[in-house]
């Protein structure tokens, strides 16, 4: 990234490179399945679709703002304390989001309650700050945040759909497996609700993804 190149050619807003920032994390560079980041929250809050959705949305908001702020400050942050600085920014944003939710959408904030803390420690956020926002301009940083949050979010929601459907027979809290199935002896699979099944579901997604795109398989 040389200074002269920046001045000479003004990059279009959605250049090929910028579009890649958005689309790559959705599939070939997915934060959960490829980078294996943010697994902890993928296990913890995918029991119900609604929670997964709210979590994905909150991570999106926090990521956009933290990437933007860190990117704007990237030349001011001393590299020796950069991790702490990132942590302070992320934590402050998460608390801010929590306070605003509590004041304006109280029901949603109750859904989120314990998971808000998890956003602070979400490795994806710190990972993107370190790997991208510290070295790039604000606009690409925002795109990178949106891409990664979306990549994180869709995996979360897919896993939650599986777990809620097979675990409680519901989707978004609404009963979808009719009572007649239960009358015939169908049972909800209680194991789906427990954390190990989240790991296995994520594993299956990784398996499908790598068998479709063999380039992703590590050679050793």
């Amino acid at each position: 990234m040389s200074e002269t190149a920046e001045v000479k050619v003004k990059e279009p807003l959605f250049s090929k490179k910028n579009k890649k920032l958005l689309t790559d994390p959705l599939n070939d560079d997915n934060p959960i399945t490829i980078q294996v980041l943010g697994i902890c929250s993928a296990l913890a809050i995918t029991v119900q679709v609604k929670q997964a959705f709210v979590m994905a949305l909150s991570v999106l908001v926090v990521m956009i703002f933290s990437n933007l702020i860190v990117s704007l400050m990237r030349n001011l942050i001393p590299s020796r304390v950069r991790i702490i600085v990132q942590l302070v920014i992320v934590a402050a944003l998460v608390i801010l989001v929590d306070q605003v939710l509590k004041a304006f959408v109280y029901d949603v904030s109750k859904q989120l309650s314990v998971f808000v803390g998890l956003i602070i420690t979400n490795c994806i956020i710190m990972g993107r700050l370190e790997a991208f926002a510290l070295a790039n301009k604000p606009f690409p940083s925002i795109l990178d945040a949106i891409g990664n949050a979306a990549g994180y979010g869709w995996i979360l929601i897919v896993v939650a759909v599986f777990r809620e459907f097979f675990g409680s027979g519901k989707l978004w809290g609404i009963q979808v497996i009719p009572q007649s199935f239960y009358d015939f002896g169908y049972f909800n699979n209680g194991l789906m609700i427990l954390p190990p099944m989240a790991l296995i579901t994520v594993g299956i997604i990784i398996w499908v993804q790598r068998s479709r795109n063999t380039k992703l398989i590590e050679s050793n």
Binding site: I45, V47, Q48, Q51, N75, L76, I77, P78, S79, R80, V81, I84, V85, V88, I89, A92, I95, L96, Q99, V100, K102, A103, F104, Y106, S113, V114, G167, S168, G190, I193
Partner: protein
């Protein structure tokens, strides 16, 4: 400017922390009135929900004033007491339960009286502990102060799909019609595991996979209700 100089790092950190602190405390202070109002409304909704009145946040205040005709404070011996500047609604059952510094005589137990066309209901707030954190709820009694007319439970951090199910209708509905007295003796309601005869009037089927939370609900009911027993017994309408 050298951003890696020690003096710069100190200065930068100090400014960052002060700015962040200022933003956060400003946000917390300015949003506080709305947050406390939300908590108040939720409490009203919960109290009303225990007798089956579903109120939206907007109408909760109005319905609460309309239906809750009396609020009493009981001391730990089940006697009605008056305390200046303390209303039954202000008592935070969870806080009181968790505060280990309070002696029994400093604890107060609220009793809300609900009235509609069908008659009176007595609503008892309670708090206890589940598997991961506090649980709380409201149990409403019919005029005989023995039969449970409805209940609502909530929790802070119970496992979704397991212990967290205590707040679902299918669980709270099981309490309706159960009684807490056997003859003259207080027996409360016990939450039992499957395979046991829970069609007894003092037993409720627990939640599979949420045993510790279910047992917590039972413990919370027994401990809280035992305080109210003298009051319930002294009530002329009680049919024990």
């Amino acid at each position: 400017m050298d951003v890696n100089k020690n003096s710069y790092i100190f200065g930068f950190s100090a400014i960052l922390v002060i700015v962040v602190a200022a933003i956060l405390s400003f946000a917390a202070e300015s949003l506080k009135p709305m947050q406390t109002e939300n908590v108040r409304i939720e409490k009203m909704q919960n109290i009303l929900a225990s007798v089956g009145v579903e109120a939206t946040p907007k109408e909760a205040g109005k319905l609460f004033d309309q239906y809750i005709v009396d609020q009493k404070l009981l001391n730990h011996e089940g006697k009605v007491v008056e305390k200046d500047g303390l209303s039954a609604f202000d008592i935070d059952a969870v806080k009181q339960y968790k505060d280990k510094n309070l002696s029994d005589s400093e604890k107060y137990y609220p009793l809300f009286t609900f009235q509609n066309e069908e008659g009176k209901r007595y609503i008892v707030p309670m708090a206890g502990k589940g598997l991961w954190g506090p649980i709380w709820g409201y149990v409403a009694f019919a005029e005989d102060m023995n039969t449970i007319a409805g209940s609502t439970f909530d929790h802070k951090t119970e496992t979704p799909g397991l212990g967290a199910e205590i707040k679902e209708k299918f669980f709270t509905e099981k309490f309706i019609g159960k009684t807490i007295f056997e003859g003259d003796e207080f027996v409360s309601v016990e939450i039992v595991k499957g395979g046991q005869p829970w069609d007894s009037p003092h037993k409720v089927d627990g939640i599979s996979g949420g045993t510790i939370t279910s047992v917590g609900v039972g413990e919370m009911m027994e401990r809280t209700l035992s305080v109210y027993v003298p009051y319930f017994k002294s009530n002329p309408k009680a049919s024990l």
